[in-house]
Symmetry: C2
């Protein structure tokens, strides 16, 4: 069993010591070797991000708005496949925050080719660790019904103490 | 019936044209005349805000953290009672945001002496209008169980399309 496979076989992803601002979680098999890298520092190419969001079928958003949203997000985490010298964006998540008490995670996406391998969990664990390093007290998100259990498995609780997530709708 | 009373009797608060950055919603009776003012621009005295939060029984938070949270909030709305030349902070709310798609409202507070008069609703309507002026698409919040109906009455829906608000808890 390759290092990469053994790493993800039980969905418990160990993240190695940061190398510069990158963090590596594993390598592919011998034949098709690659590494998975995480960072919060790298500038995201908006077209590459759009391609990733297209791949999961999200509605397109104006790039100038996406650019502004990234600029004013507290943290943007990205996940990359590195094969030789080529890096490909395969996952993304970002959080808004008051830099102190509360953070809210938005736009969590993993490329379909890389789903069901524990990488969504690895990306979220990376995100949570980064937010904790910033001493954010309260990490929140709004989960679509089909991913509630995914987030539950990572320590997120729905409606804790009866607190309800609410969205405003114009009349 | 005084202007102020007629204004709030049906909980529909009309907000007048902004005067500088202030907005006024009404005046008290003849004997004890005052105005209620709203603003997003005024610098908040941290001790005055702490006093307001104390009055509703919130747990105290370190002032340096509160200061940082205000600094990095997208919008802080405050509500004031003006009696003669004296202004008293009687309500507050703030929102985190990516300045584009999503905003999340936190720390909504109205002084107990001013509750049950439609002023919480007026403060929230002011907040929503300000966020809409900034062209935020998605206004969200996390509501304690006893205020879910309050927010529902203002156009907020709990768990729309099954979306769940979730909070992260450390192991």
């Amino acid at each position: 069993m390759s290092f990469w496979k053994s790493l993800f076989s039980n969905s418990d992803v160990e993240v190695s010591t940061p190398i510069y601002d990158w963090e590596t979680v594993g390598m592919g098999g011998d034949r098709n070797q690659y590494r998975i890298l995480f960072t919060t520092n790298r500038e995201i190419d908006l077209y590459e991000l759009e391609e990733l969001c297209d791949a999961v079928g999200w509605a397109r958003r104006p790039l100038r708005k996406v650019k502004k949203a990234l600029q004013y997000s507290f943290l943007s985490a990205s996940m990359w496949q590195q094969k030789g010298s080529r890096q490909r964006l395969i996952g993304f998540a970002r959080a808004t925050s008051d830099h102190t008490f509360n953070a809210t995670i938005w736009d969590v996406v993993v490329h379909p080719e890389f789903q069901n391998q524990g990488l969504g969990k690895a990306l979220m664990q990376y995100m949570i660790r980064k937010l904790r390093q910033e001493e954010i007290s309260n990490i929140t998100l709004f989960a679509d019904p089909h991913v509630v259990d995914f987030y539950r498995g990572m320590g997120f609780r729905p409606d804790p103490d009866g607190i309800k997530g609410m969205f405003w709708y114009p009349d």
